[in-house]
Every structure is written in C-alpha cells, then in structure tokens.
Symmetry: D2
C-alpha cells in the first residue's frame, strides 16, 4: 500500500507487451526506424499538430531541461512557480542544460503561478544587460500540489508571456491526469492555449521510462536534436522508447490509467475530508492528495503499513498521498478506514 509517488509503480502490461512485440530483428538505430517515426506521427496526430517536432527521451528531468534549453539563451530568465519541480527537485538540471539561465520563482495559489505576478515581472522596465533577459515561463500541469490549470488559466499566462516576447513550456509529467480532469482535447490543452513546448510524460502513468517532448514550433527542432544527443539522451535502440509510447497510447491505455489514478485520489480525498482532524490543503483535481492530520494519526498510518511522504510544511503535519494507474480501491478504503479509526481514538 504505497502512496509515496506514482513512480513507485511498475509498467503497465500494454507497455511491456509493446516492448516484447518490437524486439525482434534488426532496425536502424538512433530513431531512424519505422516504429519511432510512426510514434512521432501518432503524437502529431493526437495533438492535431502536423508540423510539430517530436522527441522521445527517458526521464522527465531530461524532457524539461532540454525543453527549456531551446527556449532561453544562457543569459535568460525562466519563470516558474516557487515550488515547481524544475526549481526544487531537478538538482539544477535547468541551469545545467541551459548553460546557466536563471530560474525566477513566482508565488500563486494552489500551485499555480499568479498571472499578475508574472505580468509584474516581465512588464517592469528592464535594466538592460545587468539583469538576465526574460525568455520563458514554465507551467506544471497537473501542478505539484495536485491541482490543474484550466485552459483559460494556461491561455492567460501564455498570453502574458507571448506579449512580452517569452515562450511557454508545459511540464506535463502528469499531463494525462490533467487532461482527464479538463475533458478537452490535447490540442486545446496545449498549443491552442499558447503552449510552445510540452513535456508529455508517460513514465508516471504506465511506462518504464519514456517521455515525449513536443515542439509545436518546428524551428526549435534542430537545436533540440543536437542538445538531446550531447546530453546523452539519444538512445541507440530508440525502438524501445518508441515501443513504450506505442503501448502507452494504444487502446487509450494512457487515458484509462490517468482516469483511474484520478478517481482513486478523489475517492481518497472524499473519504478523508470528512474525518475530524483531517483537512485537505488543496482541491484534488488530479492524482495527488495533500492532507493535514495530527502527528499521532500520521504515526498510526505509517505503523499500519501505509507508505507515503510527510510533506515539508513548517509547523504543520502534512501527508502527500499519490495514486497511480495500479492503485487498488480496496487499499484506498483501508487507508480511509484506518484514518477513521485513528481519529476516533485521538
């Protein structure tokens, strides 16, 4: 009963099957194979973006850092939410890949950048070469606190960015979870709302290690291709990244997986929010639940065999609970029942 993260899971059977199915025979290396090209085409079709450039990589950090590296010069500024994964959990990967660009953090409610804060940053008079040059904004979708930007919110932030000459990146490590909530098309959630580059995550939602970067502006493709290679992220046996993505996209596996994970999170939140002493920190709009509880309750849940992280919130006792494509409803029920029992004995 592991609620630590959606990356403690294995891979979905459809993904493993695709790997096995494409293992036989010799194919051209480094992505010049039919399968990779078919997967790239499939993603273009999925996003209604026939001119987009698609690149497969194996980790979300690589997807994000490479994306930012084609959106900012080394003397540029990238704006992000103050607790964004790129800022707090990638060990400086954006700085490394961009050659030293600066992340500038912005606050906001429920994990979303406040538009007026972005506007204030990029609209203020520059002081020439003394400050880094505003270059890009990156949004996390679903956010790091389990909420989802509405399409209008994405559009509003992208518009501010574009109006001031910046580009927009979306960190979609949990894009499928966000899309399940939004109910719109992939295109509506991204380029139609102003997103220039998307990190389209698959790892957390059923792949072994596969992400796609979708450059809606194909002019960025050459730089991305070179940068992927020199970062060691161009796989020789690319068919295996492509196969994962094929299995992931086929038969709506990705959508089904995300919908299930979201449903489990909602179920968990619904069960917990009525318990005395338990309260949610944020609306639950994807597959993460942040819940405040008493110290004894947290101890009790851990003692009962539930794995999850205590989140760092000064002076408060907060648990982060993450559901995934393989989370079982009975485990959610047991979690809630245990919480109820612990609350009763408090």
């Amino acid at each position: 009963m592991n609620f630590c993260s959606d990356n403690v899971t294995g891979a979905h059977p459809a993904v493993l099957d695709a790997i096995a199915r494409h293992n036989a025979g010799s194919v051209t290396a480094y992505g010049d194979d039919i399968l990779t090209q078919a997967v790239e085409e499939r993603l273009r079709a999925l996003f209604e973006a026939p001119d987009a450039a698609v690149f497969l990589v194996a980790t979300g950090t690589a997807a994000n850092a490479l994306s930012l590296s084609v959106l900012t010069p080394p003397y540029g500024a990238v704006y992000c939410y103050e607790e964004a994964h790129v800022q707090t959990d990638e060990c400086g990967a954006p700085e490394f890949f961009t050659g030293g660009a600066k992340l500038i953090t912005l606050p906001g409610d429920d994990g979303r950048i406040a538009p007026q804060r972005l506007e204030a940053e990029v609209a203020r008079p520059t002081h020439g070469v003394h400050h880094v040059k505003p270059a890009a904004v990156t949004l996390t979708q679903a956010t790091c606190v389990g909420t989802v930007y509405t399409v209008d919110q994405v559009h509003a932030l992208s518009t501010i960015a574009h109006d001031h000459g910046l580009r927009t990146h979306m960190d979609g490590a949990r894009f499928a979870n966000a899309l399940a909530t939004l109910g719109c098309t992939p295109a509506e959630a991204t380029w139609k709302a102003g997103v220039d580059v998307l990190s389209f995550g698959a790892t957390k939602n059923g792949a072994l290690a596969a992400e796609a970067v979708i450059l809606f502006d194909p002019a960025l493709a050459e730089a991305f291709a070179f940068r992927r290679k020199r970062a060691g992220h161009l796989f020789s046996k690319m068919r295996f990244l492509a196969a994962q993505m094929e299995g992931y996209l086929s038969a709506d596996t990705w959508k089904t997986n995300a919908a299930h994970a979201n449903a489990m999170a909602t179920k968990l939140a619904t069960g917990l929010k009525g318990i005395a002493g338990f309260s949610l920190l944020h609306p639950v709009e994807a597959n993460e639940v942040f819940v405040e509880m008493s110290e004894p309750a947290m101890l009790g849940l851990h003692a009962a065999g539930f794995d999850f992280y205590r989140w760092t919130v000064p002076d408060r006792c907060v648990a982060r609970l993450v559901t995934a494509f393989d989370t079982r409803a009975e485990d959610v029920d047991r979690f809630v029942e245990t919480a109820v029992a612990l609350a009763a004995t408090a």
Copy 2:
C-alpha cells in the same frame, strides 16, 4: 542481414525476462530499491571491488561523459585516441558534462593511444594557467577499430597517467567483447591495470538501454550522484535499469553474447581475408571488421541486401562490419559467399 552496428539489435530474451519478472509491485524509486542495490553489489563482486561505487545509466554517452566529469575540472585536459567515440560521436557531450574541459587527441596504431605520445604530452613542461591542466586519459576497450588493448598496454598508459597526476577512464561500451578476447578477470582488465573509472556497457551486447559506471575510487561517488541527477540520468523507476543488468549478468549471458559476437567477426574476417581484392585494415580482436574492397564489390554487397556502413577513409573504399550477439553464422557465410562471387566477376 544487418552489419551496421551492434545497436541495431533488439534485446536478449534474458534481459526482457528480467524486466517482466521485476515489474510487479511498488518499490522505492530512484534506486533505493532492493533490486538495484543487489545489482550494484553483484557488479562490485564481479569486479572484486567491494568499495567501488556503481551507478546505472541508460546510454553510453551518459556513462562516458559523466565519468569524465568527475575526473577533470572544467579547466582540465582529457587525452583520448584521435578517433575515439568521445571525440567524434558524442556531439560534444564530454565538453558539456565537464563544463568545458578540452579533449586532446593522440594518434596511435590500430586504434590504441601510443604510450610515448601520451608521455610526451603530459611530461612536457606546462605553461601554467595558459594551457588546460592535464587531468585524465580515456581508453576505449575494445577500441573503435575492433582491436583490444592488452592488459599490459592498459597498465602502461595508466601508469603514465598516474605518474603525472592524471586519472584513467575506460570506455567499455564493448568491454565484454574485449574481455572475451583477453581471457582475464574483469578486475585484471580494469583496476588492477590502473583503471579508475569504467563505463561498463550492456546495451550493445544484449540490453535495451543500460550501462553501469564503476568508480573504483569511491571518493568520486558523491559528485557522480549529483551530476547524474542534474543531467536527467537518474531514473525514477530504476528497477528497470537494474533488471536489465541482472538479466544481462545472469547465467553468463553477457559472456556468451560477447563470445558469440567475437566468433562471428572472426569467422567473417577469416572468410574475407582470403578473397582477392579484400584486405583487413586492423587485426580482428573483438566484434568489428574493417575491410577494404573495390567500389564494385561494395556496391554489389549492398545490392545483395547486406546493410553496413562505408567508413570514412580518404581515397579508400572501406566497409565496417559489426557483429552482435544475434548474428547468425549463415548470414556470415552468405556475406562471404557473396564477396567471393563479386571478386570472381571483377
């Protein structure tokens, strides 16, 4: 009948089986799982290096560039063979990962750095801060032309390096192929001969995408761990890299695979060298054959359905033929027969 490279192959069944076997259940992410730790321990045992630090990554470029990044300061010099993969085929990855260190190329016979050339470079009086600081030497084993450094040759180069304060890296993308030829232990081929850091390749010899970096000096481990993460090469679902390595090492799969590939290359070389108009450029000591032939012969072989690369050698017509764990003896026979027939009609 693809002799383009050993990365046009799929994965060995033992590797796929291991992935499937370890797919079930939740495990801690980022390498803090039992399987990863067991695989690291297994590699330490294999190399008789109980204190070594082991890191799994997915590509050879990442393995090499990360290795070099912990061996040189950004103002350092790394010496390599003039046609080494790190110099010619990694798009500047060493420069990127090291923060700008300079690769200095050295000539030699049959793909091996000439010791006297290394000595001459590192022994000459420095001119202080004006030149980059000699920091490391990197050897490719097996070499890029299909030969193998003897243990004594590795030792001689490492000794020169160590005597002048440099460290030794071995690019072992085809380490298994070299070891099959050397007939010594992994320890004898590496740290006992002075190697400080090894890129232990598995991808070309049967994995999907898995390499291990073995730091025989554990003092390098902290820097490597941070650098792997910020380069996007720390996998969240690390179990899948570990599983590949487990399948690769189990039941001597890696040794059997390499021995087979080498045998196929030898068979190919033996068949070709007796044909009029065909001549080998280098001794065949691993799984690569470089053979000069006439232009019509090359055309004919391509026309007959054999895939391979024409190697860039000015004014000469040279084919590079690479065998792998899945190369079939009958395909080698057909290649030789075709060559014989083409020679006869010349």
Copy 3:
C-alpha cells in the same frame, strides 16, 4: 551633481600617478612581475593573512563570480540576500562561472540576510541528489541598501554556514565604506569573523578598474588561477592592475576616500530627514541614501540638475543617492537646499 552611483566618478589622482610611475620599462607579463607580487604581499599584510592567496581582476562581477566558482560545485546552492547584486545585477554571472549553481535568495531587514532564514535553509533535511547541494553563502558589505553588517552579524552567519559545511564569501565592492563605519581592522571584518573569500573592491572608491580577491584558504588558489585565466580575467600587462591597487592603498587613500564618501552620505541624510515629506528607508551606514519623497519633489530635483536613480519600489517614490570620494560638500548642500525649497512649495 551626479548622485547616480559611485562608478560615475573618474579615478583618484593617486591611482593615476601610480600607473604613470610604473609605466616605464619591460616587465614580465601575467603577474609575474615585482610590482604585482609586492601588491599581493601588501594585501596579505593588510589583512594579517600571510598565507592568503591574492588575485587581481578588473571588475566586481568577475571578482564575485570567480570567488563563488571556487566555493561551490556546479550542482551546489549559493545563498544570498534577495536583492543582492549577484542575483539582480550581474546577468547570471554566478551561474555562468560556477557552471550552473543555483542562487537561493533569502529575505532580511535592511539588506542583511536574516540568520534564522539561513539556518532554516541549510538545517532542513536534504532530499539527497534531487536538490542542489548547499555550498556557500555570500554577504554584501556594505549592503545594497547602504547598511553595514556588524562584525557579530558576519560572524553569526559564517558560523551557521561553517556548521553545515558551507563556505562564506563577502562581496566587498564597498568594503572600504563598511570598514570606515565598523572601525575595526580588515582582518576582524573578514577572516576573523569567518569570511573565507573576500572581493575587495577598489573601482568604486578611486581606482579605474581594479578589485582584489583574497582567498583566506590558499587551497582554493589553484582553481582560482585557472578559472581567472579561462574567463579572460588574467591581464597580460598586470602591472597596471597592480599599480592601481598600489596607488589606492598608499597613504591611506582608500580609507580617506571611503570616509569622505560616508561623511557626504551622512550629511545628505541628515539634511534630508528633517524635511517634511522626505523619509529615509534604511539607516545610512555607508555611502548610499535611500529616501522616499513626493513625485513632484523628485521631478523638481531632477529638473534642478541633480542626477540620481529612482529606485524600483512598488507604489512608492524612492530615490537612491550615492556619494563617492569626490562628492563635494557644496553639492550636498545644494541638494538639501533644493529639497527644502521643493518641500516648501508642496
């Protein structure tokens, strides 16, 4: 009547004289000359630090960024005040020179890092390689708002840093101004209070373009020497940096200059603070005065021929007034008189 900055000034005659005095004849280039060595020795003596390594450079940005580059790995974190020059006015130089380290900004009162905020940052449990590694803290002395850290305050921050394995850098672009206020020795203001590396500024206080970096830990010297060269900051005709520093230090020029600049700032602040509608934002402890006034008053002062910057403070009208070694008392008097007159007509 220019109060824009202390870098709008020319050089002090003592500095120009020293340049002219040392112009004749041939001397060894790149700092291996007698004058440079004498100046380095003089700085060691001044700071009572016989083992310190001293490096001359021409700009404050170079001094700071090179200093930080020897204190942090590229995957490190450097803590600074939220409006520190390294963060806001050096166009990402720290990120560039360090190879991508991350500046983490901390708030505080009157331009000084709040010790409890630093403590909270470095004392919290790390999460391994996912976050950048805490490596250094940098203090600006005098601060960017014209205040001065007391020796005890420097010591307190350095102690927090050292207790957690970090090193301490001091950006002393206005070190002379701070020292004039502190009234202690250079050693007491720096290494005796825990400073590991000092950027000792001279440009703003009378040189053309000269700064010294003093590494109180000589183990950092080799890396600094190589990094200075590869950053293009090793001057071939080093005698001219050394001559500036000689002229600056001789006959207490540097102290006299700083004391004068500070006195002019105090005179200005004293004159302004009594005027209705004018109020100081911070204590005036060095050579900068931040004063809030009405919009008409600022317009009037500009119209009267006084040059100074309007500081960016949301919704407030704030002037930054900087005095220098050549600020004339009569110009300060005229500024105050003009302000009085404008206040009277408001």
Copy 4:
C-alpha cells in the same frame, strides 16, 4: 632588452595622456557615456562599417572567447589553426564562453590554415547529431608564427566558411602589425574579405588593457552585450577603456607603433639570417621572429642579458623574438652583434 613578448611593454604615452584627459568629472557608467560612443563611432568609420556593433573589453582572451560565443551554438565546431592562441593559450576560454563548443584544429604552412583542409572538414558528409555542428572558423592575423594572411587568403577561407554556413572570426591581437604589412584598408582586410567578427587588439601595441570587438553583422550585438556583462567584462568606468582606444587611434599612434615593431623585427631577421648556424623558421611579416640556433648560442644570448622564450619545437633549439612599439634599434643591433660573436666562437 626584453624580446619575450609585446605584452612586456608599458603603455604608449598617447594612451596614458588620453586616460588623464578623460578622468575629470562624472559620466554615465557602463558605456553610456559620450566618449565611449564616440570611440565606437570612430571604429565604425575606420572600418567603413556604419552598421557594425562595437564592444570594448580589456583582454584578448575575452575578445576572442566572447566573439566565438556569438558565432557557435554550444554543440558547434570551431575550426582553428593547430597552434592557434585560442587552442593552446587561453586555458579553454572558448569552451567556457561557448558553453562547450569544440575547437577542431587544422594544420597548414607558416601558421595559416590550409584552405583544402578546411574545405575537407566542412564539406564532408555530416553524420547528423553525432558530431558537433560546423559553426565557425577563426583566423589569427598576424599569425602565431609572425606571418600574415594575404587578403586573398582570408577571402578564400571565408568563402569556404560561408559556402557551408559557417561564420568567420579574426583574432586580431596583432591586427595592426598585419595591416602595416598588407598595406590595405582595415575594411579590405576584414569584412570585405569575408570576416564577420574581428578582435581588434590594442594591448600589445600600446594600450594598457584594451581591445575592441567589431561585429560586422549587427544582429549579433544583443547576444554579445549580454554575454559581455555576464562574463564580468562590462566595465563600470567604461570611459577608461574608451580613452585608451581614443589615444591609440589618434594621430595614427596605432599605425606608427605597428610599423615600428614590424621594422624592428625585419631588422632583427635580416641581421640574424646571414649568421652561420642561425636560420629563420618562417617568413617575418609582422613583429615576431622565430629563429633556430645552436644550444650554446641560445645560452650565450641569455647570458648576455637578452630575455626571450625558447619555443617548444621537439628536438630543435628555437627562439621566439618579439618586437614592440618601444623596441630600440640599438638593442636589435646589440642582439645581432652578440649572435655574430657567438657564432664566431662556435
């Protein structure tokens, strides 16, 4: 009697005078002053390039590395002569400033890149993203062995570069010396012959520390401006770089200085080449003389008080003799006389 280099000299009086002349009063910092703008305009006029962007920096390494950084992506290749200063004497500055681009060295006669070698490199079929992308070629004028590219030779190399999408940089640390020999206009020697960016040196020929970078393509200016600042090479008191350049260019000081240095080198070469046992390695076309001699002769010259470097040429005894604007004819005479005497006693 110092023939070590042209950077062992002081500054020309005209340069010191200009500094003194422009010292008085307050002026805007960071180059927004009238003098700097006038000097930039003067250089544009001198080069008949009204749209060129001009940037002043203090060192040749900065000028070169910044220039290359706006001509190549970090995954690019820069072609240079195999002994070029950027490759051998700048401690990896090009790699640092470009973010890791690779210098690829080319041979040639008398210090000049052989055009057919450049053609062979850039014309060969690329192998996609595996190799760094050809981006720029850099020529040293005068060369590192004291020869000068003819205008036709510059044009030939630039044409090869441009035909393959590369840009051309000229390292003109000794541009004045080259121009004195060429006898053409600055424009003919540079942009009319295909040079895109020029490092226009002044330090070696009479300044304290001043170089100008001239971007004949103004589209490169924004990147250069930001990169100069974040490299710490934007001087706050820019007037002092501008004043040096003004003094240098006024009254044809720069031309007179270079012509004198060249004449002294020719005089030296003429005197030495007739002596038994002395032979020139290269034609003397600027202000450097490379002369082979016997070991006893070199010892004798050093013993007689002449300072110069023994050049690193395996198995040969070679002296590099550099003349400068302040080299005295009588010192050249004495050098030759001493050589004659030493030859006579051999």
